[in-house]
Symmetry: C3
Subunit: 355 residues, 3 copies
């Protein structure tokens, strides 16, 4: 089947309208094919090792070698059409009129439920989602609910920071990008430190990265037996955040915390429970039913008493948590600008793009 230039232009437009953001490897593939189709074989100098985003793009383009522009155009069109969903995405995923794009937020039975809602991206946290979670927490703090619950839609609880956040370099360059990211992260974590009501995580599947480290700031964590807990920071040349450098050693002792935070050990739900990160593990088949029955009972307890008791416990270490959050973000900012981190992220992305 032969495609026209018109098909190509149409495909180009469809990319911008995709409901689900493609993964990083797909994006690199799209970039490479588009360049090959419009420019021909890669004809620009190889970027420096430190300029890791452009290096990754260059690698993708260059890997197409001498593919003809026609073949590239055709591959591009085919790839795009495979990304466009055959059916419109089910409307029940996001309630009509919802003010959130990446979350579904509902309040019922004295419980405000914040559900991460990018199931096709395994609920990876994009910049948009960071901002929406903060907004949802601010609203939950002030609404009439007694407790607030964070959970994920689909198989994953959350796959962590969306690595595509890394590819959005601000005009001020790498340093400004790193600074902005660190500030966003700091503000984000602070929302969890300051949250004034009982905050409960319902971990419905695998949790990765910052969605794990933040658990130390939740008042209760319940998990399905299908959940896992993984913080592969060192692999990516990065240091821990979410106050985990303080909360994890406090919860599970230094030696088990170090295995996770420095050496990428992935915990099963049972291990996370015996190490004190999770309060209780439920069989996946009855998880939602059992947990929500329990949460409804909790939400009937005297509301102010619960808030006051939570704050009594939290206030004792609030100053410490602020300090930890600052130090962690500063440390991460330095990491992001380090060659070790750049090479680690680049090698990770290249591994993924070798489909």
């Amino acid at each position: 089947m032969q495609f026209s230039q018109e098909d190509f232009e149409k495909a180009k437009e469809q990319v911008n309208l995709l409901q689900d953001e493609p993964s990083d490897d797909i994006k690199l593939k799209l970039y490479a094919l588009y360049k090959q189709a419009t420019v021909g074989s890669c004809n620009i100098p190889k970027p420096s090792m430190l300029d890791f985003v452009n290096k990754a793009k260059w690698d993708a383009w260059n890997s197409l070698g001498s593919m003809t522009q026609d073949n590239a155009r055709q591959s591009y069109i085919e790839l795009v059409s495979s990304l466009v969903p055959a059916e419109p995405s089910p409307v029940n995923e996001i309630p009509p009129g919802s003010k959130y794009e990446t979350l579904e937020v509902t309040t019922k039975d004295n419980i405000t439920k914040i559900m991460l809602n990018r199931p096709k991206r395994k609920n990876a946290i994009s910049v948009k989602m960071y901002n929406e979670i903060m907004k949802a927490l601010e609203e939950a703090a002030n609404d009439d609910s007694t407790i607030t619950v964070l959970t994920g839609n689909g198989d994953y609880y959350c796959s962590g920071n969306d690595l595509s956040n890394f590819t959005q370099i601000s005009p001020g360059g790498m340093e400004e990008s790193a600074k902005n990211s660190a500030e966003l992260l700091k503000k984000f974590v602070q929302h969890f430190i300051d949250f004034p009501k009982p905050l409960i995580a319902v971990v419905n599947g695998p949790a990765v990265g910052i969605s794990v480290t933040l658990l130390g700031l939740f008042d209760i964590v319940y998990a399905t037996d299908q959940a896992t807990f993984h913080t592969p920071f060192s692999n990516l040349g990065q240091s821990p955040e979410g106050c985990s450098s303080y909360t994890f050693p406090k919860i599970m002792g230094l030696t088990k915390a170090t295995e996770m935070l420095l050496f990428n050990k992935k915990l099963t739900a049972a291990e996370a429970c015996s190490q004190g990160l999770v309060a209780e593990v439920f069989p996946d088949s009855t998880f939602q039913k059992e947990v929500w029955a329990r949460l409804k009972a909790y939400a009937n307890l005297p509301k102010k008493t619960l808030a006051v008791s939570k704050q009594l416990i939290r206030n004792m270490e609030k100053e410490k948590l602020y300090e930890v959050n600052s130090q962690e973000c500063e440390c991460l900012m330095e990491r992001w600008l380090s060659e070790e981190c750049m090479q680690a992220v680049m090698s990770f992305m290249q591994k993924k793009s070798k489909l």
Copy 2:
């Protein structure tokens, strides 16, 4: 069988001589029958919701409806006679000449043993017992013993704060009462923070409320497998004390501590042990024998060395514990004066008085 007015007067006197203080529901019943017998049907206006003691009394009286004065007198006499023990209570419970009414304190084998001794009230801590425990700790701190043990007489270790303490409103009104209670509590907890020798809890049965939260301040906790650990504060509109808002998250991690302190989770002895609140659990049948053999061995170790080592560990967080104790008592005082707490306590007492 018909009772005379003389029988009624005699019953009235017997009430004041009862060796064991009746429970709150019995007291309300006695009050109601006495009023019905002497005044007739309830004829006073319903007290305000906030005046919760008088409201409870009014409810009890009012619940008797149009019962005749004769029937009320008869019921009163029968109730009192059921409370008077057939036999004099065994003298071995409190050694003759003991200076404590609510405790039995003995020193033997380098061990001072403080036994809560109100078994018929499940060793609930009355105001008198609060004061006697403080006195006993002061004496144990200065005697020749090497270690000090706290335990309970009978099936319970301790059922927590005696709720009848709530009904003793001081002349200065609710606020003064709350302030006095908070000051008593603060002084009481401070005795545990400051205790200079190894302090060991021998938990011989269920433990409730403050008898649980204080365990975080003991150097060792041993428990029978019949023990349970329950802190139903939120049910009663109250916040945690005994430094548990600091010690419990430190011992078992925030998520498991919150389940107990905010959401009333009752732990088995095995759970308390795996969460680090209890050092070891023993089968009930051999509990006393095994534990006391071990304690006798402990008490033969060099006395000053043990005291110095305990203080080395404790002094590192003493200032923190003082601060926590203050904040908890202030928080509780506010709770006691809150409508949420009053309603919760009242509803609890009414449930109990519906025999």
Copy 3:
């Protein structure tokens, strides 16, 4: 068999050439027999209780009663000859040219391995070994390795402080000795607090005393199922060190920490793991293989990232750890000069010398 005076002189010389330092009880026996052989029955006044080294020597000599000088000489020669090894000790224990006498230090695969190397003394830490460990840590901190490992040669990980350190009273008397020991200890522990890279303990067998308490300062602890963890301080009238009075309650909760640090409870490897002191326990048969495979993988992670993450976690409590170390050493210094401690050490040594 009869021995000549020449044999006796030769035996005397051999004692000074022994490759392995004899145990304390053997040394006391040698002293006693030598005195009995050269002077006759004990003829000096009994030293005071406080002068515990001389008291121990006097006891040993005096216990020989009226043994003849000839018999004493013969026993002395026999004892010495039993201490001289038949074969020269295997040279592979200490690599030729090693600058360490008590350690074997190697760097390979990005790992610096510091192995305690006095297997015949169960890797007890002599004053020399204290100094060599500090030197080895300083070098490991600055070399190219990614992680540093401490382990023991032979069946033991480490049997703790070499009690013969106690018998080296400095010319300034007991007080100066105690002060010097406390200063050495403080400097030693500080090397662990300050160590800048991931520090991992590979506990290959029983661990005693300071080798246990220091584990709270390691980033990861792996153990064979043959390991045990024992801190019998109170038995010897001593208080805990190595920052364990802070790290142990933090890791395992106060009640389980007190059982170890005050009441000499010895933990199995499985118990140490469930209490959070050990990250994972391995079957002894595969211990070395499994652990080193894992460590090699760890050592391939980005080096700076690991160091930065470790320091992020450690720096949060560094000031606290310095303070704890100071207080512990001061406390121990007082203990060492206390009668309780002197009597406890003496009674321990006498028990050992009653062969």
